[in-house]
């Protein structure tokens, strides 16, 4: 187990700048997710930490030791790849024992430790099989066992569940979360799936176009996105340009065209400044109150049934607004196109985005 420092790491492939001055501190035993859309540089950063790609600039430190120039094999990392990369010519037990074998652990000890690691991922009886004889989920669990069996200082995972179906993915996420907490292993996990990042992480590092946009706990990144991109990526649908009217300990008063909004968030910006606000669709409700604290009215454009929920698009004075309501057992839509409805939301649903 080790702490990890990423200091001003940059990387370009030809003219294509993949990583631009990325820095982050990752504490011992933390589970950090590198989250971002494809092409944002998250996999490259992971490969630089692994030592499989050389950075153009910057440093990687493990427990305050500079490993930037160290070969991958000397870094003491465990890595899990999306395509699991198990050795097809070795049994499951030999695959898991490979890292120990490279470290000169004698055969018997190796097999014992490998069996223990397999037990950890619930595959104790699969040691004598070959990887091709296992299902996709089992193969990925073997890959995880192979990466943790030699007690790596850092565990790196590159979209390990990306190729699996949703149910299996969710089961493995829960299992991985339990295992990494149990082992107390420092883990860096790459994904483009915000749901997966929220479930697994102690902290989420959100990346966009080679830069680290925001790093924080899942709740922070979810409730207080710092940029428009972060908010969009974390599932905020509605955005409005707004002006700060005033801010105090209770929150911030905002003007959005003719509408007045109240947010629980304290904007650390002077009055009169232009910012963006974001409101999640599921935080907006249809209301009977004609004059709610936060709200607007408009004409329903479209109503879509999703099973659990209804999505309603409303054309209002503030602009196009999307809201989601729970469907419950009701078969009838909560509103019909052409109808005029009143929308309302609570002050703590209004996310103030300082950097639009």
């Amino acid at each position: 187990m080790a702490s990890l420092s990423i200091r001003s790491v940059s990387k370009a492939f030809g003219a294509n700048k993949v990583l631009d001055d990325v820095s982050a501190e990752i504490g011992t035993g933390a589970f950090v997710t590198l989250l971002g859309p494809s092409g944002c540089g998250k996999t490259t950063l992971l490969r630089i930490i692994a030592g499989l790609v050389e950075a153009d600039g910057g440093e990687i430190l493990m427990d305050d030791t500079n490993v930037t120039r160290l070969e991958a094999r000397r870094r003491g990392i465990g890595m899990v790849f999306q395509s699991h990369a198990l050795f097809p010519h070795m049994t499951v037990l030999e695959n898991v024992g490979f890292g120990l074998r490279m470290r000169g652990v004698p055969r018997q000890e190796r097999d014992r430790l490998a069996s223990e690691a397999l037990a950890l991922v619930h595959l104790r009886d699969f040691g004598r099989r070959y990887p091709q004889q296992l299902s996709g989920g089992q193969q990925q669990r073997v890959a995880i066992a192979r990466a943790v069996v030699f007690k790596p200082r850092v565990l790196l995972m590159d979209e390990p569940f990306g190729a699996l179906d949703r149910k299996l993915r969710e089961a493995l996420q829960i299992e991985l979360r339990r295992m990494t907490r149990e082992l107390g292993i420092t883990t860096i996990f790459v994904t483009h799936d915000q749901g997966e990042a929220l479930i697994l992480s102690d902290r989420i590092a959100l990346m966009q176009a080679g830069r680290l946009v925001q790093i924080g706990t899942p709740a922070e990144v979810f409730r207080q996105p710092q940029t428009r991109f972060a908010a969009e990526f974390m599932g905020v649908e509605n955005f409005f340009a707004a002006q700060i009217l005033g801010s105090d300990a209770d929150g911030t008063a905002l003007a959005c065209g003719a509408a007045r909004l109240l947010s629980r968030v304290q904007a650390k910006l002077p009055a009169g400044g232009g910012i963006a606000v974001g409101i999640r669709a599921e935080d907006i409700a249809l209301s009977d109150d004609a004059h709610p604290v936060n709200g607007t009215s408009g004409e329903v454009r479209d109503v879509v049934y999703h099973g659990n929920t209804w999505t309603i698009s409303v054309s209002s004075a503030m602009g196009e607004i999307v809201c989601t309501t729970q469907a419950g057992a009701a078969a009838n839509p909560p509103a019909n196109p052409g109808e005029t409805v009143q929308l309302a939301w609570r002050p703590d649903a209004v996310l103030v985005i300082p950097d639009p």
Partner: protein, 287 residues
Amino acid sequence: MARFSRIELAALIAPGVLIVTLLLLAPAINLLRFSFYAAGSTEIEGDAGFGNYAALLSDPYILRIIGKTLLISLAVTFLCLVISLPISNFVWRAPSRWKTGLMILILSPLLVSVVVSSFGWVVLLGTKGLINNLLIGLGIIGAPLPLLYSDLSLILGLTHVLLPFMILSLVAVLEKIDPLLMEAAATLGAPSHRIWWHVQLPLALPGIGAGTTIVFALAMSSYVTPAVLGPNGPNFITTLIYQYFVNLYDWGNGATLSVVLLIISTAVVALYTTLLSRRILRSTRMS
């Protein structure tokens, strides 16, 4: 995929079976028949039974040539493998825009007739050849070395001609290996020579098996190179067969030797592939 009935399938493979039977199997059976005929100067005279086999296989001169043919073929196979391993590795790791050019370069020995490329070695290795002239010119040796018409020139010539088959087999199998496996091995602590030994080599085994089998079979049955580059006189089983058939007009013994060559090659290849496929099966086992 379209499904065919048994009759349709039989009709589809019939032309192929017919061609193979007429052009390959029938002459082979005929050859086998000849091998039981007594040695004659001008025509086939009567049944010798296994007499030809007994006589030839108890003749130390013949046995020595058979043994030498085996040894030289094994040496050529081994040499081809040793040379091909680094070359195929280089081609595999080369940027893809280089690959077409490299493949043409590797195939180039096959674009020239074996006769021509064998005579190329004559130019290089002869008493007044390039190498001897160079060594004498540099004052390293006084008199020319007997490089040509030796086992050495034979092995060099065969290796040159057969190398492409080995390299192609290896490149084909390496291209199928997932490069992530090498990276996974590196992250697990393996230095590059152990990655090669524990991962790349076992996964390349099917290609090594195919390549060595092809090269060995082709070396055993090669005629032009031993005739042009080998020591004078019958030095290889094929040149010996030629001598019986053409110079001595002795079809009985010529056919017998041909059958012996066929049996030895088939036996070696069969034994080898059986041993190898056990290992390969392990590495490509499917559920």
